[in-house]
């Protein structure tokens, strides 16, 4: 087996959190090697440069690895899950295909046990993370407006907000009429040139990647700076297992290189940044006599407490064109009217409304996220024309509470192209989440009708909605009830760190990437202070 030159810190995964850690550590003069199973995405390869761009959403640019099936993907057995996990394997990770909706967790999200008697408090709080939120905002570049009363005051946004346009102004009018909270979304998408990157030209489908770098995928934000600072990034490098030295500490990893050769990378510390499914998969695949149930898994919690954000989708149809094909697909406005706990609603914790843009031609025909296909036959033309460019979809993104039965395990039969056992996901929507989503559907209908919708349809649970993978190696003070400590170190292996969504104690009711990255920078800051 070939052995690479040893390094100070090995980072596994080059996505949202791995890139942030690599940048922070390399900037402090710490040697960093990052192993990434995907490759760089050539900006010219994005489908936006082709007339048939929309067809690629269902094939090679699908967010579902089981649909995409690229060589760098691994299969996920999700037959026992009501939500399909989504991810992307590349430099930039899932920030390649995210919509860059960029809210933060709120202060109460870190204190759910103390405030609401459910789940667990985080061992860190909003105030601790605030400087890292701000630092991350500067690195990613955020469009928005300060002053949102749903949050403590934030630092100035890097660029003005994404324009509401006709669609956003229409739904905002509904929230206004109801007297509910709404705010132009914080979006990690530039509306002005910033930090050497270009402003968005409002082409639309951010979920297929951003060919001009206006959207903050970490291949265009953190990585160029990390590489300039000396970090080394190895692509098409699929890690098979993390290795331990005789002292019981992590000493590196064994991986398959681009040509399929087995190699060893030694390091003084290892950082896992492989997402909420990839990280527990790797730990469970790293079994040894010392850790027969998987590395750093004496608690038995590796892979458990998987949280997605369950999404319900409510779509209103209007009598006039809304220009929904213009502008970033996932970002117009957010409402957090029903975010904090109010037990009179019949559930604990809460949710956000995320209002996206309109549906493109093929998505309109197939019903978009609601999934109600336009009827075929003689009525097709009329039915399609009544829908195309006349819909607004409100997503209800509910806080998912951690439950041990929702988990990632290893599939006994399924494996990737290298023969590494694949993950199997088990997930059942909780009764609390169901009640929460039902409340959101009813309130979403109110908002759409107040905005002028003449017809409302909904999807009670979006199956292809597992964008957010959280909780499977959670942070805590007690080694019996958590996998990593408040500094991001595994209780069982103190030089093994976890910085991706696996670390999340709870999921909040907002998109998590901003918070995942803030936690990653916080952990990296501690490593820097301790010099890894």
């Amino acid at each position: 087996m070939a052995t690479d030159d040893p390094t100070d810190v090995l980072v596994i995964g080059a996505g949202a959190s791995g890139a942030a850690v690599a940048w922070r550590l390399s900037g402090a003069g710490i040697g960093v090697v990052c192993l990434e199973q995907g490759d760089w995405v050539d900006p010219r390869a994005y489908p936006h440069w082709r007339a048939d761009w929309e067809l690629h959403r269902q094939t090679d640019w699908s967010a579902e690895p089981n649909v995409r099936r690229l060589p760098q993907d691994y299969p996920v057995n999700d037959r026992a899950s009501s939500i399909s996990p989504l991810m992307y394997n590349a430099v930039g990770g899932s920030t390649i295909h995210w919509s860059a909706h960029f809210p933060r967790f709120r202060p109460s999200d870190f204190r759910v046990r103390s405030l609401d008697g459910v789940a667990d408090d985080w061992p860190i709080d909003y105030a601790t993370l605030e400087p890292f939120f701000d630092l991350n905002d500067r690195m990613m570049g955020v469009a928005g407006i300060t002053g949102d009363p749903a949050y403590p005051p934030k630092s100035p946004r890097q660029t003005p907000p994404i324009p509401l346009d006709t669609l956003g102004a229409t739904i905002a009018g509904g929230f206004e009429r109801l007297g509910w909270h709404w705010w132009p979304s914080d979006s990690a998408i530039l509306t002005r040139d910033y930090d050497g990157r270009r402003a968005c030209v409002n082409c639309g489908p951010c979920d297929l990647g951003c060919p001009i770098g206006a959207k903050a995928s970490t291949d265009v934000t953190y990585w160029p700076k990390a590489l300039a600072a000396g970090a080394r990034l190895v692509t098409r490098a699929r890690v098979r297992e993390i290795t331990l030295g005789p002292d019981g500490l992590a000493d590196g990893a064994i991986y398959y290189d681009r040509e399929g050769r087995v190699r060893a990378q030694k390091a003084r510390a290892v950082v896992l940044a492989a997402n909420g499914i990839g990280t527990p998969r790797l730990l469970l695949n790293s079994r040894s006599a010392r850790f027969p149930d998987g590395l750093a898994n004496r608690s038995g919690l590796v892979g458990r407490n998987l949280m997605f954000h369950p999404y319900a989708m409510v779509r209103g149809t209007f009598d006039r064109p809304l220009g929904g094909h213009r502008g970033p697909i996932g970002c117009s406005i957010i409402s957090q009217e029903f975010y904090e706990t109010d037990l009179s609603r019949g559930f604990v914790r809460g949710y956000s409304f995320q209002v996206a843009r309109g549906l493109s031609p093929i998505a309109s025909a197939n019903g978009g996220s609601v999934g109600d296909r336009v009827p075929w036959g003689r009525e097709h033309r009329r039915a399609y024309d009544e829908r195309f460019d006349r819909t607004i979809t409100v997503a209800i993104i509910g806080e998912d509470l951690p439950e041990p039965g929702n988990r990632v395990d290893l599939d006994p039969a399924l494996a990737d192209d290298h023969g590494i056992p694949a993950p199997a996901v088990s997930y059942t929507l909780s009764e609390n989440s169901r009640r929460m989503l039902d409340h959101g559907i009813a309130r979403g209908r109110e908002a759409l009708e107040a905005a002028g919708a003449r017809e409302v349809a909904f999807n009670p649970l979006l199956r292809a909605g597992g964008w957010h993978l959280m909780g499977t190696a959670r942070m805590g003070r007690d080694p019996a009830t958590s996998v990593i400590d408040p500094e991001g170190r595994c209780h069982d292996v103190p030089n093994l760190y976890i910085v991706d969504g696996s670390a999340m104690v709870t999921s909040a009711g907002v998109n998590p990437t901003s918070t995942i990255q803030a936690v990653a920078l916080y952990v990296a800051d501690g490593m820097t202070r301790r010099r890894a």
């Binding site: 202060p107 968005c200 296909r373 003689r378 033309r381």
Partner: protein, 150 residues
Amino acid sequence: MTPGALAARRDLLALVLDTLVPASAGFPGAGAVGLDHVLAVAAASADLESLLWRGLQVVEEAARAQGGSGFAQLSPDDRESVLRQVEQSHADFFDALVRHTYDGYYGHPTVVARLGLDPGPLQPRGHRIEAADLPDLTRVTARGPIYRQA
């Protein structure tokens, strides 16, 4: 079924597609602009080609059961009636058929242009959004903080 067998039935498939999305209001029928896509995706997947080929057999059999000599000889109303029957009896076939027909049809430049959009690549042109003043958030901010201190 031999490879290419579906392509050999392209005339029948085109009629089926035209029944799913008939020409109307200046829009072409799906048989004219969606057919090539359906054949292309079928040619790339033996399973899909087999599913569609067998489904067309069912369509023809259902058409003959109506007393005619085949689907092509039916009136447009009767064609739709036959397809509604097959939709019920062979849901997997029909779901795949409609999905790929819609993909091909609404991905076709002619149809995209008829919808009023530029059918070319999205980049580098993007879309123009008229500049607007920042939204009036007075009412929202007047409520004061709505988050819990923790």
